[in-house]
């Protein structure tokens, strides 16, 4: 059991900067998810922690020990790989026992631990098989089993679910969460799937182009994204963006997108007043755009005219793809909505939940600064 600390970590591959001054403190027993698009440096961050890549600058600490120059085998970590990386020539039992044998754990103890882990994962009946005789889901379990028998200080997961089919992925996601509760160990999990990040993490680190964008709890990330990138990355379908400016009119503020102008509610005027007259991006999530007929009562509803481009019925809701002049957006509306493709309709924006990103200061969201 241990905390993990990245202190000003840099990783360069030639001219390419994979990690740009990464600072993260991961508490003991935390489930931290590193998320971001491919090539953002999340896997590199994990491999540096595992000792599979050397860092160019900075320090990585496991517990209080600086591990920059510690060999992978002495870092007391276990890793589950995206490809599972099982040893093809060994049985499931030997795959799981291999790390323990290397550590000279007594035979009886190895047998006990492997059987226990196999039972937890429901693979007791597969112990004698070779990896090639297993299904994808079973291999994934063996890979997890190989990690847990080691009883390491830190577990590393590198996109362990991306090779599973959609249904199995949802199921395994829940199982990994359960495993975390059961083992009470630090988990560090890399994924490009924001849903996985949201559902499993105690905290999420969003990365882009080697730079940490925001590190916070899933709900905070969703409610108060620090910048445009995080706002666009977290949430599905993603947040709608409208470029425009903030216009001051007496004591009132208006978001002017060129296609439409909407009033900023009075309780938020003070927050955004410093941005008056500036180029901004206005962001609103699909669930905060409503069909006026079914809009919940008591919200700050601002009407906007739009044309329906596409409708997608999901059963419990409808995704409306709307066009407002030069912008387009997605709305998640009540399934009783009867808008047809091509209709000119009026929707309402719930102005209790919106975001304004300042384009002049690195697209920061003043709301996130608190």
């Amino acid at each position: 059991m241990a905390s993990v600390t990245y202190e000003h970590v840099w990783k360069r591959f030639g001219d390419f900067i994979a990690l740009n001054d990464l600072n993260i403190k991961i508490e003991d027993k935390e489930f931290l998810v590193l998320v971001g698009p491919s090539g953002c440096g999340k896997t590199t961050a994990l491999r540096c922690l595992a000792g599979l890549e050397e860092i160019s600058d900075g320090a990585i600490l496991i517990g209080d020990q600086k591990v920059n120059d510690v060999a992978p085998k002495d870092r007391d970590i276990a890793m589950v790989f995206q490809s599972y990386a099982l040893y093809p020539h060994m049985s499931v039992f030997d795959n799981m026992a291999f790390g323990l044998k290397l550590r000279k754990v007594p035979k009886e103890e190895i047998r006990k631990r492997v059987e226990e882990a196999a039972q937890v994962l429901g693979i007791e009946h597969l112990l004698k098989r070779k990896p090639r005789e297993l299904s994808g889901g079973q291999r994934q379990r063996v890979a997890v089993g190989r990690a847990i028998v080691r009883e390491p200080k830190v577990f590393l997961f590198d996109e362990p679910l991306s090779n599973l089919d959609a249904k199995l992925r949802v199921q395994t996601r829940a199982e990994i969460s359960k495993l975390h509760q059961r083992l009470q160990t630090t988990f560090i999990y890399v994924t490009h799937d924001q849903t996985e990040a949201m559902t499993m993490a105690t905290r999420i680190a969003v990365m882009n182009k080697g730079v940490l964008q925001q590190l916070d709890t899933p709900q905070t990330l969703y409610d108060r994204p620090a910048n445009l990138f995080v706002a666009g990355f977290i949430g599905s379908p993603s947040m709608n963006f409208f470029s425009g400016s903030l216009r001051k009119d007496g004591a009132n503020l208006f978001v002017d997108t060129g296609d439409f102008a909407i009033k900023v509610p009075e309780n938020r005027v003070a927050t955004y007043m410093p941005l008056a007259g500036k180029e901004i991006v206005f962001g609103i999530r699909p669930e905060d755009i409503h069909n006026p007929t079914f809009a919940p009562p008591g919200i700050h509803a601002e009407p906007v005219e739009a044309k329906v481009d596409v409708t997608e019925l999901m059963g419990n809701e409808i995704f409306l793809y709307l066009v407002t002049g030069k912008h387009s957006c997605v709305a998640r509306v009540d399934p009783r909505t009867r808008f047809m493709i091509g209709d000119k309709v009026q929707v309402v924006f719930n102005m209790d939940n919106f975001h304004i990103f300042d384009l002049s200061t690195d697209r920061e969201n003043p709301l996130a600064v608190r």
Binding site: K73, A78, M79, F81, S83, Y84, Y87, R146
Partner: protein
């Protein structure tokens, strides 16, 4: 399917005709190929007198195994075969072990000059043997290895290293990096990764190479006559050649010896051919 019975019949018949010609042609080639072997086989069971009286292509008067006994004992084929093994097995072990080590390093480590070393290995295999004959002969002389088993073992090992390294390195490149990383995290040092992870996964390739190299070294004749003088050290290929002078009137003994000499190669192929074919098609698609 809406194929009429008549059409269907016609279709199968044309395939059968093509198939038939193929089989006939291939059988003819096989027979032609086997005629000398068959002739040697029959000859080795006859007596020289019988052959001189009736000619090679006649029905034998009587068959006996005396020629084999004579070849094995008096003509020393048994001793020559033993020499062949004494030379072949260490060469094989040496070249496979050393080249697999080199291949692992070349396949798995990024270092300056990796490609240069690799190309040197490949280029080495392209040097014609004739160029090296004299230098190698003089080298063994200088090293005091001339006319010893060591000279042959050393030259075979060194000579085949390039090819073996080339094959194994390319095979090892196909083993996913993740497996080695997993082993590293599991607690393996480099040598253990090579020995317990990479080598077991390279077995098909190793077996194919071993088959090929066994026949290559076992059937070598030129290096044996260049680097050895003593009859007592000769491998079976060179030994058989000396029989010609000694028994120039006794063809049945010589053919019996030659047949004895092919048995080990035959065994290796029969038992390892599964790997050999697998090895030939390695990497040709999955």
């Amino acid at each position: 399917m809406s194929v009429t019975p008549a059409n269907h019949k016609f279709a199968t018949r044309t395939i059968d005709v093509a198939e038939f010609f193929k089989i006939v042609l291939l059988s003819l080639f096989t027979l032609l190929w086997l005629v000398p072997v068959f002739a040697a086989f029959i000859t080795s069971f006859r007596t020289m007198d019988d052959i001189t009286l009736r000619g090679f292509w006649s029905w034998p008067e009587a068959l006996s195994v005396t020629n084999f006994i004579k070849a094995w004992g008096a003509a020393r084929v048994g001793k020559y075969l033993l020499n062949s093994f004494i030379i072949t097995l260490p060469s094989l072990a040496g070249m496979i072990f050393l080249s697999s080590l080199a291949a692992y390093a070349l396949a798995r480590f990024r270092f300056k000059g990796n490609m240069l070393v690799y190309f040197t290995f490949v280029a080495g295999t392209m040097l014609p043997f004739q160029i090296l004959m004299l230098p190698v002969f003089r080298l063994t002389n200088t090293l005091g290895l001339y006319d010893t088993y060591g000279a042959l073992i050393l030259i075979h090992t060194a000579f085949q290293l390039g090819f073996c390294t080339f094959v194994l390195r390319n095979f090892m490149r196909t083993i996913p990096q993740d497996i080695m990383d997993a082993a590293r995290v599991d607690g393996c040092g480099e040598f253990r990764i090579y020995w317990q992870i990479v080598l077991p996964l390279t077995v098909p390739s190793l077996a194919a190479l071993a088959t090929l190299e066994f026949t290559w070294v076992f059937n070598d004749y030129l290096w044996a006559i260049i680097l050895l003088r003593s009859d007592a050290l000769r491998p079976v290929t060179a030994g058989l050649a000396t029989l010609r002078g000694q028994y120039n009137t006794d063809w049945p003994v010589i053919t019996a010896g030659a047949l004895l000499a092919t048995i080990p190669t035959l065994f290796v192929f029969v038992f390892l051919q599964r790997y050999f074919i697998q090895g030939l098609t390695l990497g040709s698609g999955k």
